[in-house]
Amino acid sequence: MHWLEDFVFVAIVVGLARPVGLYLVRVFERKHTFLDSALRPAESLLHRLLGVHSDQEMSPRLYTLCFLLFSALSTLGLFLLLLVQHWLPGGPGDRYLTTPMTAHLAANTAISFSTTTTWQAYAGETTLRYLTQLIGLVSQNFLAGAAGLAVGIAFIRGFARENSNTIGNFWVDLVRALLWVLLPLGGVGSLLLVWQGVPLNLAPYTQAHTLEGGVQTIAQGPVAALEFIKNLGTNGGGFFNANGAHPYENPTPLVNFLGLLAIGVLPASLTITFGRMAGRSRAGWVLLAVMVVLFVGGLALCDFAESAAPPQLARLRVSGGNMEGKEVRFGIGSSALAAVVTSNGATGSYNSMHDSYQPAGVLVPLVNMLLGEVIFGGLGTGLFSMVMIALVAVFLGGLMVGRTPEYLGKKITAAETKLAVLYAVLTPGVVLVLTAVALATNAGRAGLVTNTGARGFTEVIFAYASSMANNGQSMAGLNANSVFYNVTTAVAMLAGRFALAALALALAGRFAAQRRLRTTVGTLPSDSVTFGVLLLGTVLLIAALSFLPALALGPIAEALQH
């Protein structure tokens, strides 16, 4: 029966794409929306406080620099807060905070949250004060998410504009992303979560006297304040160690479903925003269609792999699909759906332990992240990941049919191709090199404390794929709280966030400056089914060329051991 939940999920995401996508167009083109009467005064106030003039535009270079500067100051602020957090008042009491906040853990965590990765080398309930989670992490879930959305919109303006040397104002976009998108949705969503049972308190950990006469200490906290925005901003770091598997973070299947919608809806809708702003609505639908096809394919494989009885356990006369690391309330269906949505959506908020997945089950989230999360993807960043592959597809298509490569009326010259190809090779470069370094050094191999062999290899490449894709989910058998992993995953997170965004914005700047070519009979149409198939093929081709050898050492080798 669990295909019904999958079907409803896809139907809602696709159904909301147009209304939400067009709402985003209005928000970022500063047209009238139904929230204006409440939000315009707040926007003016914030502009005054920040000293921002809303009519001033930025060059792509300055836009990128502002994004970098804002992220750098956010990282620094969070780093300092983490270092002094043990002096903050309030719970949880010192005796529960058993993980020391070392400088390298603080730096890794600060970078992780300001890049929307929210990779966590620590367990929330044994490391952080409530106030750190609120002031430090809830805020970065909003701010980093909004910054990603702003960059995505600036990228779209490259296609929307012609003969322009500007792509918007970062501060104006940032404030709009917060006030018109993340704060209202975050508020409503968080309240729904409290209604369903996600705690929201600053109470000491509960001492419960169990029915059998024992004492159970139950971690508490302002969980609901973090829980919804972590998904909406495509961040994903959990309040507790078990993240979305923890019954306080994810008490009911409805909470789980709402969280998955929060991850998927905005990034999927941005394809429609893109098409509309670029003046080629059909091209947006083509991108969305390719995403949905890839999504359904991955989900079918993951669900199939997890639903089958694990052969090693079936021999012991154990019946049912793979429930190791999964929660009964979600079963196989909602667990596999969450694995696929969170790995597509740059959101690490898994509700089951991927390290205990079958080889084909873990292959899907891994490949989703290695692809650069082109299926829906991170808020704002997912869109440009997919468009970058579209540019490569256009280039390949142009080579095949001997036409001038162009996309949505923008010419793809040697310079644009170089930027797109650089973008495409950066992820394999960073992920594969860091994986090789980890496996070649004692410090790297020291992290393999739970599993070895092919599964151990998969844990390592999964960690770097997750960091580079700013996803943050892990195969948690890897012990990643060491100097080696805190430093190397931070490098991948920074490259994945800033190097990729800088390349995307540089490309957007070049497109904005071009005039728009008229469509002629010589144009390879980029809004047709044929182009959709070409794009799909290019996604799979890039993935296979870049990662097949590495995958053969990990999940594929393990599958053959069965």
Binding site: A225, P247, E558
Partner: protein, 206 residues
């Protein structure tokens, strides 16, 4: 060129002030004002949920509706194996993270399955539902599958002096289907069911 709007000079120095102020003010907005507003509404509308859905009996907090706890006595339905601390440690959530081929996982399942069969008086080659012998992701799973509950009914009925029919009715009362008909799985709440058992046939110690 794009007209009608001012273009900022590409001087990073002039952006330091807005950047610094943005981090300060927007952190205040999203990390202080937002949670405070949410606290006001959440605690007003759903005070019990906000406090963690704690369950009390005779004025004493005995657990949370959503957090699984350990049961080992034969008179109680038993929850899934747990990897949270020493088992159902509410301050150390997590799974085993053992891969599917890991010998530790296979050995552990073998032992747990043998133990489950013995405890519930099943044949040595009886099939065991997988949730009864595998650890959850959180280590705090409050639920078991209906199949797992059914296999424990005979043991509970014997230990409590109830009819199997009566225990089965209680299991049915505490079984939930997929939410709204399509989300999630069938599940039986262990704590709720065990509390109902204590009401139906109190143990001598209570």
């Amino acid at each position: 060129m794009h007209t009608g709007r001012g273009i900022l000079k590409p001087k990073l120095r002039e952006q330091l002030r807005p950047a610094f102020l943005a981090v300060i003010w927007l952190t205040l907005l999203t990390g202080c004002v937002f949670p405070l507003g949410l606290f006001a509404l959440g605690r007003l509308l759903f005070p019990d949920r906000a406090s963690g859905s704690l369950v009390t009996r005779g004025g004493i907090v005995i657990g949370s509706e959503f957090i699984g706890q350990n049961f080992s006595r034969p008179e109680y339905f038993q929850p899934r194996p747990s990897a949270a601390g020493a088992g159902y440690d509410g301050t150390a959530s997590g799974g085993t993270n053992l891969g599917p081929l890991n010998p530790k996982l296979i050995e552990s399942v073998r032992h747990l399955a043998e133990d489950y069969r013995k405890r519930n008086g099943l044949a040595p080659d009886a099939t065991v539902p997988i949730d009864a012998v595998t650890a959850s992701g959180s280590g705090l799973d409050p639920d078991i599958s209906p199949a797992n509950a059914q296999l424990q009914v005979a043991r509970i009925a014997r230990a409590r002096g109830l009819s199997e029919e009566a225990v089965r009715r209680l299991v049915a009362d505490y079984t939930q289907g997929p939410q709204l008909g399509f989300m999630g799985s069938f599940r039986v709440s262990v704590l709720g069911l065990n509390l109902a058992l204590d009401r139906a046939a109190p143990l001598p110690s209570h």
